[in-house]
């Protein structure tokens, strides 16, 4: 029981350490890196943009409802909405979307490779699959996640602005004024830290799930499911930890 609990964590850490050590020795090929940055960044941009815009629009209307309940007017909505989005929702929604898109595909690919004994073939050639496969994805994941979160927050500003002007009869000037009064560099530091932390988790856990897949088609499906679930749960727990640590400094 105890072993069952500890073993995945230990293995995941080993994968992380191994890929970091490869990266620090600059052993990965630049071509691989660019390829993975394209996969992680460009391929996920569409769904991230779509989902986050909707979130910005909904949050404005929801917050307006609550602000009217608490303080009677909704003049501070832009600031509250943007703080919530920057600190919390933009990093977590982006990370969850990248998990389901890229994390699942990493796990599926590795599990299929394991099933067709390609991983054993690599080992016979004296190559380690973590060096070749996980390390470039780790860099690409961090790069793409941080960039996408920043793009996402820029998009939500536009979404929130549009819905505040359209639904709540805000003017453009007061909207951006209220935004700039409350939004501080602290929020962006927290946002970047969060998205970088989430990004480290995604390829490593997915690789663990893929490499430990059972045989056959069920094994592949199970590995992919485990990757998505394990990533999501780890991300939300990490989110709590990072928020708690930062709330001490605030």
């Amino acid at each position: 029981m105890f072993y069952k609990l500890i073993h995945p964590i230990e293995e995941t850490f080993l994968i992380l350490v191994r890929s970091l050590s490869v990266l620090l020795r600059f052993k990965t090929s630049a071509k691989d890196l660019w390829q993975q940055c394209y996969e992680f960044g460009n391929r996920t941009f569409g769904i991230v943009a779509l989902c986050v815009t909707f979130m910005g629009i909904i949050l404005v209307t929801e917050y307006s409802f609550h602000m009217k309940l608490v303080i009677g007017n909704d003049s501070m909505i832009p600031a509250f909405v943007m703080i919530m989005l920057a600190r919390e929702l933009a990093p977590i929604v982006t990370a969850l979307l990248i998990t389901s898109k890229m994390g699942a595909s990493i796990a599926a690919e590795l599990a299929a490779m394991k099933n067709s004994e390609q991983i054993d073939a690599y080992r016979l050639l004296g190559l380690n699959i973590v060096d070749l496969y996980v390390a470039p994805r780790l860099v690409a994941s961090i790069f793409a996640n941080v960039c996408l979160t920043m793009i996402a927050i820029a998009i939500t500003v536009i979404g929130a602005w549009g819905s505040a002007v359209y639904f709540l009869n805000f003017s453009t000037g007061p909207f951006f004024h209220s935004l700039l009064v409350f939004l501080s560099p602290f929020d962006f530091i927290l946002m970047t830290t969060k998205s970088a932390c989430f990004a480290i988790v995604i390829p490593v856990i997915s690789a663990y799930c893929g490499l430990h897949a059972r045989h056959g088609a069920e094994g592949v499906g199970e590995a992919t499911t485990n990757a998505v679930v394990g990533n999501s749960i780890t991300i939300i727990i990490l989110d709590f930890v990072v928020t708690y640590v930062f709330s001490k400094f605030y």
Binding site: F54, M55, V70, A217, G221, T224, Y250
Partner: protein, 250 residues
């Protein structure tokens, strides 16, 4: 867009066979119990941490205004109306949806579905119908359960970390979380549950291409469920808010 139309047609196929569910009650019960027990731990973890993270964030925001006394109500209402359903549904889409999709997919690629068709049994009635109903029902129940857990999670987090009195936290909930919040939360849960059931059954049933195809369809399930959930969330919020405004509840 094309996929959406095909999925609607697939939903039509399932609904057409709905009266046959009684005949498949055994399979339905088995699936229901299996999925529910498997996903219970995920739901509890997701619920606790969603509530806790949001409570911490609201606490940080409200502290500046000295409005900590309304923390409980504001956090509960904000969580169950908007952010809670989305985050917990994301987790469940990974767990419940992806699991069922992987199961159906591996049946498809190992030709079990063809074999059942050879026996003169309709595979949609036999495999898809009980799974769709089980996933939709479990997802709805687990979402509502997760939202209840998130209230407890939020209360515990701010009590342990920020020293907010739990009694006071609970006292303000009834001031903010009104009937409209509950109706919104329930409607969202039902809609997300049906969407998850439909998307996972569709992609599982359409799997092609061997072991790698199973992983691919799990990935598609996770991505599409998330996008569908965000869009449905937006649609439900705007439609219900309009209705509430028309009948004068908001």
């Amino acid at each position: 867009m094309n996929t959406a139309i095909k999925q609607l047609a697939f939903l039509g196929e399932i609904i057409k066979r709905m009266p046959l569910l009684w005949k498949e009650r055994r399979e339905f019960t088995l699936q229901f119990a299996d999925v529910a027990i498997r996903s219970l731990s995920t739901t509890i973890t997701a619920g606790i941490f969603t509530g806790a993270v949001l409570a911490l964030q609201f606490h940080l925001q409200l502290k500046d205004f000295g409005a900590e006394s309304v923390l409980g109500g504001l956090n509960t209402s904000g969580t169950i109306r908007e952010v809670g359903p989305i985050l917990i549904a994301f987790m469940l889409a990974g767990k419940v949806g992806a699991y069922t999709s992987a199961e159906l997919g591996s049946m498809k690629v190992t030709d079990q579905i063809q074999a059942v068709r050879c026996l003169g049994i309709d595979p949609i009635t036999f495999f898809v119908l009980p799974r769709f109903c089980a996933v939709a029902l479990t997802a709805v129940l687990l979402l509502i359960f997760g939202l209840v857990i998130s209230v407890l999670g939020g209360m515990t987090a701010v009590w342990a970390i920020a020293g907010v009195n739990p009694d006071q936290y609970l006292l303000t909930i009834s001031r903010f979380a009104s009937n409209t919040s509950l109706i919104l939360a329930t409607t969202k849960s039902v809609a997300f549950g049906i969407l998850m059931g439909l998307i996972c059954c569709y992609h599982g049933y359409q799997t092609t291409g061997g072991t790698f195809g199973v992983g691919e369809s799990v990935r598609k399930t996770a991505v599409q469920s998330m996008v569908a959930i965000v869009i449905a969330d937006f649609a439900i919020t705007s439609i219900l808010e309009t209705i509430f405004r028309l009948i004068g509840w908001a």
